[in-house]
């Protein structure tokens, strides 16, 4: 602080010119006065802080909005995938229907077994009395309708013939003895697994 140039005031004797006078005293600013003084650092910090907050808010908004688009896209994808999954499981249920399995089994030349037979694994004995296969009623033409099946799910006879031809070609060396012996054990029945 200086008073130079302040012509309105009476010139004051310079303190240096009054040696051994009372030490310099000044009115101590009150707390409030001290606080009221502009201070640079807090000002910069405050302004920068506001800037950072605003910037963070902006970035947050951007991220949030971006997330919203992502969520929307993923939800659409999830819905589409769920629909695909449902359509596929619907198809699987139809393919797994008894009628479809029978149609395909018949196309492959399979027949139902005759009288039930049981193999006792402990003693190795077979109980029950065998009968010719297909001894049930009704032949094996399915009589129970299913309008969901249009016949397109039955194996193509040409594919079966091709597979048979390929099998014959590969087993010409004659390794099917094992298969024949199984058939001999229970004549007239198809060996079926005794799983639980």
């Amino acid at each position: 602080m200086t008073t130079y140039g302040n012509t309105a005031l009476a010139p004051r004797p310079a303190p240096a010119s009054t040696p051994r006078t009372r030490p310099h005293i000044e009115v101590a600013p009150t707390r409030a006065q001290r606080r009221a003084r502009p201070r640079l650092v807090p000002a910069i910090v405050t302004v920068a802080g506001i800037g950072v907050v605003l910037l963070a808010h902006l970035l947050l908004s951007i991220v949030l909005a971006d997330g919203a688009y992502q969520i929307s896209a993923l939800q659409t994808e999830q819905r589409d995938l769920l629909r695909d999954q449902q359509a596929l499981s619907e198809r699987l249920e139809t393919l797994g229907s008894t009628q479809n399995l029978i149609a395909n089994a018949s196309a492959l030349g399979m027949v139902a077994s005759g009288n039930p037979l049981f193999l006792n694994a402990d003693t190795g004995t077979v109980s029950g009395s065998a009968s010719a296969p297909g001894a049930g009623l009704a032949g094996w033409k399915n009589l129970v309708g299913n309008s969901l099946l249009d016949g397109s799910t039955v194996i193509d006879p040409a594919a079966i013939a091709a597979a048979k031809a390929a099998e014959n070609a590969s087993t010409e060396t004659g390794t099917s003895v094992e298969g024949a012996s199984v058939v001999n054990t229970t004549p007239g029945t198809i060996p079926s697994p005794q799983t639980h």
Partner: protein, 589 residues
């Protein structure tokens, strides 16, 4: 030189103008912010807020092994806004590019994909050109919907159309019922709707200018609730076999209808309950007669005839008034105590025969049964019949179930008094008959007949679990003795050669009931065979019935089907060959 007065005037004018403008703004501000604030806010949020329906999925119906019998699937309705259709040209994606094509070409493209008639589509679109909404086609599959969507025609929209499918077709169609469009119409779909039904939810969100959901703006007003999974006791493969056999034999016999039932003795669970003819729930139109839409085994009582006799013999044994060896002299015609002109006959002509009680059952003698029944008062016999479950609905409580009828005591005349003991003058459903055989096989304890084993709610809890409390009808020894007598029927009776299975002991009884029409017995018959397997420790009760066969009118008509079904039951449930030997009960004296 400036005129100070002019300056002041101008200043005053400016101030007035400024104030006037500010005043206008203030008025407008108050108007918008205060007076009309509510309605404007509402309008604004209407524009931003999008309501959405969240769909709950109707529950599926599954068999005892989890095979799906009824399932919910998504179908799509293809809709359009005719008001947006320009009849000359329209945008459409073609060969990968969005191009303008003649509208007729776009309509043809939709018609090709959805297999509809383009003329019908054209008519729909032009019927009301100002309309904002019209259905082009309903309930198409996901494949078709995707193809239509890929066309990117601007005036074509879609709606979700939840739908039902029955992957196993007519298997158990009689039980499952159907749900053709918007509501269940038959069978378990209708009866168990409270388990299966779903509830749609609703929510709203606020959308941005390009339709994206604003984060955090979703308000769920009501949660969607998925329906429960209905678990049945039946085995779909066994059910198929029964239907197959009924269809084959029913056609060969020229019967009007047939049904067959397999019940697990230990707990009264129905393993299969087949009807012929029956309905494919996917295609109800394929079965024009509504009588074939349900389960006759529950809804159609008939006079059962001789398959009722085991109930009579078990009652008499339990009351201690007969033993299997009780001697009876059976005359050719029985008139004792009957009104003049009435008589009871047997199905074959004979003179006096000395039979034991076992012999009476084995020969299925009506006269012998009537004579033995006289040893017990009508009141007590009536109480036994009701305890076996006749005259009341089974615990299944199937849609449209009938309780059959046994006449009240005070209305039972002197003929019905005796004839109802061999299944004439009373009526019962196949379900009641099966339940009676279950009781005999289960040592005299009647278990509640069960078709639904529970409703699995969306949260995994099981509700509607049926009661497992049994009631004793006859003593264990009376039930066991009756089964032994039925084993004599199966080994020496009229159809023994047809129904026997090598290695297995079976108990059975045949029935050939006369069908009454207009109060008079006709030449039509309802033929049936009912029985238990294996006889030494009954596990399954089986009843097979054919109504009004043309080619053969005796119970022998139902025997091959009974035999085939028994073999399938043995295979399905892996019943090992029987132990012990057939009891030695004399049939004559």
């Amino acid at each position: 030189m400036i005129n100070p007065r002019g300056t002041r005037r101008r200043l005053a004018l400016s101030v007035i103008v400024v104030f006037a403008i500010v005043a206008v703004f203030v008025v407008r501000l108050v108007d918008i912010q205060v007076v009309r604030a509510a309605s404007i806010t509402e309008k604004a949020s209407e524009r931003r807020t999008i309501p959405v329906t969240t769909y709950g999925v109707r529950g599926s119906i599954v068999d005892a092994n989890g095979v799906v019998l009824a399932d919910s699937v998504e179908r799509f309705d293809i809709t359009a806004a005719p008001v947006n259709v320009k009849l000359d040209k329209t945008w459409m994606r073609k060969d990968g590019k969005l191009v303008q094509v003649p509208t007729a070409e776009a309509i043809q493209a939709i018609a090709n994909i959805t297999s509809t008639d383009p003329n019908v589509l054209y008519a729909t679109l032009t019927k009301d050109p100002k309309s904002k909404f019209a259905y082009l086609t309903k309930a198409v599959t996901l494949d078709v919907f995707k193809k239509v969507r890929a066309l990117q025609i601007p005036w074509v929209y879609s709606e979700l159309h939840p739908s039902r499918t029955y992957p196993n077709g007519a298997i158990a169609g009689n039980l499952v019922g159907f749900f053709p469009s918007d509501k269940p119409l038959a069978g378990l779909e209708l009866k168990q709707d409270s388990c299966l039904a779903s509830r749609n939810g609703s929510s709203t969100y606020e959308s941005s200018a390009d339709g994206i959901r604003l984060p955090g703006s979703t308000i769920v007003e009501k949660d969607a609730k998925n329906g429960g999974t209905l678990h049945l006791t039946i085995d779909a493969d066994l059910q198929w076999y029964l239907q197959q056999v009924l269809s084959d034999q029913g056609t060969a016999l020229g019967a009007d209808w047939g049904n067959a039932m397999v019940v697990r003795v230990a707990d009264g669970h129905i393993m299969a309950d087949a009807d012929w003819p029956t309905v494919d729930p996917n295609h109800i139109d394929g079965t024009p007669d509504p009588n074939n839409w349900g389960a006759r085994s529950f809804s159609s009582p008939f006079e059962p005839g001789s398959i009722m006799k085991p109930a009579t013999f078990a009652s008499l044994l339990d009351a201690g008034v007969i033993t299997p060896e009780t001697h009876v002299t059976v005359p050719g015609i029985y008139t004792e105590g009957l009104p003049a002109g009435s008589k009871i006959k047997d199905s074959w002509a004979h003179g006096d025969i000395n039979m034991t009680a076992t012999g009476v059952l084995m020969n299925s003698s009506n006269i012998g049964t009537a004579i033995l029944s006289k040893n017990l008062s009508l009141k007590k016999r009536h109480a036994y019949l009701e305890a076996f479950g006749f005259n009341s609905d089974t615990a299944v409580d199937f849609l449209g179930e009938s309780s059959g009828s046994v006449l009240p005591l005070d209305q039972t005349d002197s003929i019905t008094n005796l004839t109802q003991q061999f299944g004439q003058g009373m009526s019962a459903t196949s379900a009641q008959i099966a339940s009676m055989y279950q009781t005999l096989g289960n040592g005299g304890v009647h278990m509640p007949l069960t078709l639904v084993s529970g409703c699995e709610q969306a949260d995994g809890t099981m509700t509607d679990v049926p009661s497992t409390a049994g009631t004793r009808v006859v003593s264990e020894s009376a039930a066991k003795t009756t089964v032994q007598m039925m084993e004599i029927v199966a080994t020496q009776g009229s159809v023994h050669s047809v129904i026997s299975i090598p290695g297995y002991r079976i108990a059975a009884k045949t029935g050939t009931a006369e069908v009454a029409e207009g109060g008079v017995y006709t030449s039509d018959r309802i033929v049936s065979v009912a029985g238990l397997i294996p006889a030494e420790a009954p596990a399954y009760a089986i009843v097979v019935t054919f109504a009004k066969p043309d080619t053969m009118r005796t119970s022998a008509a139902a025997a091959p089907a009974f035999n085939a079904i028994m073999k399938q039951v043995i295979k399905t449930f892996r019943i090992t060959p029987s132990t012990g030997s057939v009891p030695n009960l004399p049939v004559t004296w």
